[in-house]
Subunit: 391 residues, 2 copies
Amino acid sequence: MFRITPIKNGLCAIDGIYADGVNAGFKKDGFDVGFIRSEKIMNIAYLFTTNKFQAAPVKYVLNKNIEKTNFILANSKNANALTGEEGINDIKEILSFLNEKIDAINPIMSSTGVIGVRIDKEKIKSAIEKFDFNAKNSKNFAKAIMTTDSFYKEIAFEVEGNFGKFKIAGVAKGAGMINPAMATMLCFIVTDANVPREKMKKILSEINDNTFNAISVDGDTSTNDSVFLMSTNEGDYEEGAFREALNQVMLKLATDIVKDGEGATKLVAFNVKGAKNKLEAKIAAKALANSLLVKTAIFGEDPNWGRIASTIGASGIECDENTLSIEIGDVLIYDKGKNCFDKVTEEKARKVMKKDSFKIEVDIGIGDGKFRAFGCDLSYDYVKINAEYRT
Amino acid sequence: MFRITPIKNGLCAIDGIYADGVNAGFKKDGFDVGFIRSEKIMNIAYLFTTNKFQAAPVKYVLNKNIEKTNFILANSKNANALTGEEGINDIKEILSFLNEKIDAINPIMSSTGVIGVRIDKEKIKSAIEKFDFNAKNSKNFAKAIMTTDSFYKEIAFEVEGNFGKFKIAGVAKGAGMINPAMATMLCFIVTDANVPREKMKKILSEINDNTFNAISVDGDTSTNDSVFLMSTNEGDYEEGAFREALNQVMLKLATDIVKDGEGATKLVAFNVKGAKNKLEAKIAAKALANSLLVKTAIFGEDPNWGRIASTIGASGIECDENTLSIEIGDVLIYDKGKNCFDKVTEEKARKVMKKDSFKIEVDIGIGDGKFRAFGCDLSYDYVKINAEYRT
């Protein structure tokens, strides 16, 4: 038995964790470079993009095989991706400058923004000069990693049970390029739970499958996607409680990312069940979350169930129109090959789709594979934001 | 040696071929039901959608395994898809009504439009009543199959050489749901070339791979995609000439479909070469044609080459940033890991992107696999058309 309670102060709710953001001139206004610092050296687990062109910060961490750290440096507006050896050298120079200012053990740099442009080292150094390493402004760090995000994403919980207690907190950024194989996103989670490092890696990867790997804004996978989980190991620990708390942190941040998808006006859960197996359910759920025709129908609040069915049929999974069922919210539209779409159900489904958030449930009707994906609609603003970005 | 010359009158340029369109009330104005009729019984080859939920007209042809026909009946505004046994029975009833009016041998029905709604048999019958079976209005047939298409698509050639001569003509419709595994489209090609039926099937399938299977508007695959190739076998034949002429017909109709993609303002050829093999080149080329970030950058006329690189990296193919090269038009932007993007190349690339039609060339630099895919941009109008379609 355990109780999970939301708490304030984001990452800085954890004892010995400091964080802040400053403006280094990458953005006209607002924070663009930030840090997370820990008094104690933390164990770290991470998951990175499956894009073959991993950005320099991702390669740097993988090459060094970092297992412990006490410092994260992050920036927005420049991804330091497709920058070759020079991109890696830029990171080394920046981190060695950082070490002149504070004792950073295996510091990690994490970047998001435009691809293919060398990072402005002087701007990052000027940010480091400005850092107050004893600041406890988690929110400012969350803001510093925002690109086209319209709100900062932060959550913190205290977890108490018979085993004792621990805290866990996370921040994330998303917005565009949210993809079918881990979102275009950065996520930093800190806990004091005394979770063994190997467990930490395993649990992070498992929960990631149903959270960040289940979301989609536009089906594109960035060069920089990163999820970091760090622990000071100073609190108590119980696996079940830790799993549930980490799941809540990651699900909240993942759905926040979809809600804040570029131009998105609606968050939709695509629940696929009855597929041959989990993989097929995942393929179908993600196909729905990525279909332009489904996404535009959602934007138009149009219960065009034919597009849902057609997308399932095109996804390549095993299916049969005589076992297929489709519900929009709780409104049954198509029932094992029987079309229930009439004036009454259409009106009901339309009402569901007017909400900011709803579910679309598809039963393939042939097995017990299930998967829930999260997606959003495709609006004029998505086109506007992405046609004008960079210039 | 042979000469291919464009000729007039579309399908009706072929001797003994009649075609027309009428208004049956599916559309407010304009043709919505049409026919193609041949005096002589024709050999027929066809390729259908890979969507698991094949529409009733597709199932009907496959179930009957039709090899010869003299009549095609086609309609827009209703796909007769996801309509179960009733959908098939509706076709049977309509075609038996047709046979009261004219001697149709294995008549074929082909439909496009909204999914999941029973077809209005009385409207189709009223159209049949109106048909002038001796009309030679190929253009009207081409218009009758249009849905959100903004122009009708028709082409005809006469081919002459030492072997003698033949004619070949085609009409198509496309617009939305143009996908990565054969476009959402209907295409009807008629020839008098004396091509053996088995050759006809083989050549159709091979050319389809590089034409209709190489185009994408929105990455969705419909329930109704169909390509029909029919021959009266009354002309002469030489394989090389026939291949080349069929290729020109299909490439013209396929690129017309992309140009007329919903809301599209630009036609882009994505040439991928140097991939491990042809399949990997195809995967990468189609990933580019389907990427929302690439499509919106094209709409914004922004040479955001980082999105091109990132899409290649995310496509899952074997690649390395040190062997990758990217050209927009003939402007080299990224050369085997070396970034050539500066004020000068940016301005040149921007100029290329201002054109209605241009190419993006990606050299993976590791093998000799190549593939050319055709795609278009993603505009506000795509969202508008698809958010408002059906209602």
